[in-house]
Symmetry: C2
Subunit: 119 residues, 2 copies
Amino acid sequence: MEESQALAAFAALSQETRLRIVRLLVQGGPEGMAAGAIGEALGGATTSRLSFHLTHLEHSGLVQSRRDGRFIIYSAVYPALAELVGFLMQDCCQGHPEICAPAVAALNCACAPTPARKA
Amino acid sequence: MEESQALAAFAALSQETRLRIVRLLVQGGPEGMAAGAIGEALGGATTSRLSFHLTHLEHSGLVQSRRDGRFIIYSAVYPALAELVGFLMQDCCQGHPEICAPAVAALNCACAPTPARKA
DNA sequence: CCATTAATTCAACATCTATTGAGAGGTTGA
DNA sequence: TCAACCTCTCAATAGATGTTGAATTAATGG
């Protein structure tokens, strides 16, 4: 992953509305959600504001969209999120896993088994 | 982790100089690096600019500092980084690990054994 | 105690970013 | 085709952020 992409992604995540959208879509799974549904879930966001942030997120590569009839469905781009995390934590423990192992354990994701969980 | 902390952290990471500093410190381990050494490693950054960004990072919680004689040593706060990632990816697979497992595998960190590595 | 080294603070300026409200583009079913 | 619906685009404004250079604080050694 290139630095410029990472910067764009972090910039996208540094805004309240956008961070909420990304977390919503991450939890929403691959099916995604229509723009209107996202707006309802967030509450109190004009359509133009929402559109601005969704476009921003799409340009950052963290979110993708497809049209379904009148709706535009947005969904999280999981590989992009993972690459971003990988870019940030690259070479985090230089042969000394004990340094960051407890930190990584905090990931608390069912699909990233930690030594503690022994999966 | 609270949303406001996450927003501050992502904002900190969305700036070129600061992202480079964090990655440098992540790779630098718990011992940390003096402000001057960080400046040299980055190349071409005035001391005031560097100080501005280091202070910004410290306020965000991603980096901590301690004085050692004339030097001020900065180091990464690993648990904060992990919490941030956890906050972003929370409930990313709602019982369907196959959705984000390949993504998480991209983490590529020796201290986060993936199913593929069977550690 | 003075000179030197290390790093921070401050104010001013330029730049970037988000919000708002009005209007326009596509899509569907009658 | 028309009306209803969902969403996007645009220009103006207000607010937040980064850079610069000069001055300042703090610690060390002679």
